[in-house]
């Protein structure tokens, strides 16, 4: 993956317009933070014993943090990152959990500046899939050390993702 090229969602263009409309429908780019989403990331960070947990919304050329725990520095100021550096994009495209146990030793992500410069070492993200079937982002936990994620932990992460979507769908009614 080229982490320094402006991302192109062109192959996904038609489906992506519908997916982006879904993001708008669910109010995922609101500047205010949904308290339920904030509670979810705080809980996940504690339960997984990681410094960072996020509800990340994958847009057309950026990812936006709808809720965040433990994010500091430039990512906090931006409240997201350019899409080309997004780990969560993998969960969105595959519609499955994306797991990185040791980013420095994983060819999929080892050259990502978030790994090389910002120190991300482990990542587990479960896609947020709406009632209309669109993957709009991911619920993820991030660590500064290498670690394994058990099947049970991945299932718990998927549970967090499902509950976030339920909350968003209820709010959108």
């Amino acid at each position: 993956m080229n982490f320094h090229a402006h991302p192109s969602m062109e192959p996904y263009a038609k489906q992506d317009e519908a997916r982006l409309h879904e993001i708008s429908r669910l109010g995922l780019i609101s500047s205010s933070v949904n308290p339920s989403l904030k509670r979810a990331v705080d809980t996940a960070a504690r339960e997984f014993n990681v410094p960072i947990a996020l509800v990340s919304v994958v847009l057309d050329d950026a990812q936006y943090f709808a809720a965040m725990h433990g994010i500091e520095g430039w990512m906090e100021q931006a409240r997201g990152t350019p899409l080309e550096w997004s780990f969560c994009l993998n969960a969105v495209r595959s519609r499955k959990p994306f797991i990185v146990s040791d980013a420095s030793d994983d060819r999929r992500v080892s050259e990502n500046p978030l790994v090389q410069i910002d120190g991300i070492r482990s990542y587990a993200g479960a896609p947020l899939i709406t009632k209309n079937g669109h993957a709009v982002g991911a619920f993820c936990v991030i660590g500064a050390e290498a670690r394994q994620f058990s099947a049970c932990e991945i299932a718990r992460l998927e549970g967090f993702a499902r509950r976030v979507v339920e909350e968003l769908e209820n709010e959108a009614k």
Binding site: H4, S24, I29, S31, G73, Q77, P82, P113
Partner: protein, 103 residues
């Protein structure tokens, strides 16, 4: 002008351009409506819609555009994140390099 003007070397990240967002708006809304959306957004942001915009103006424009309904709002959010990423990273790089930040 130094290389921080449009690229943060460490991240190999280039500043976003207004043309990129305008092109996306045009593709979805058509030329006329996209131009109207852009002009109205720039007016609210206090920027001239016909000019090139520096990254700080793009943050302000992006914030206003993100309040629009539908895809325009999504593109505004993307623009805001990319523009803020650039300004934050460029500021950090300037501090590291000992280059004064002009406010």
């Amino acid at each position: 002008m130094n290389s921080l003007a449009n690229r943060v070397a460490e991240y190999q990240f280039t500043a976003p351009l207004s043309e990129e967002t305008k092109a996306k708006l045009q593709k979805v809304y058509g030329r006329e409506r996209a131009a109207t959306i852009w002009a109205e957004t720039c007016a609210i942001a206090g920027c001239d819609s016909s000019n090139q915009h520096d990254v700080r103006e793009l943050v302000t424009i992006g914030i206003e555009l993100s309040k629009a309904p539908g895809l325009a709002g999504v593109y505004g959010c993307s623009l805001t994140v990319r523009a803020r990423s650039f300004t934050a990273l460029a500021s950090r790089a300037a501090i590291t390099a000992g280059i004064p930040i002009i406010r």
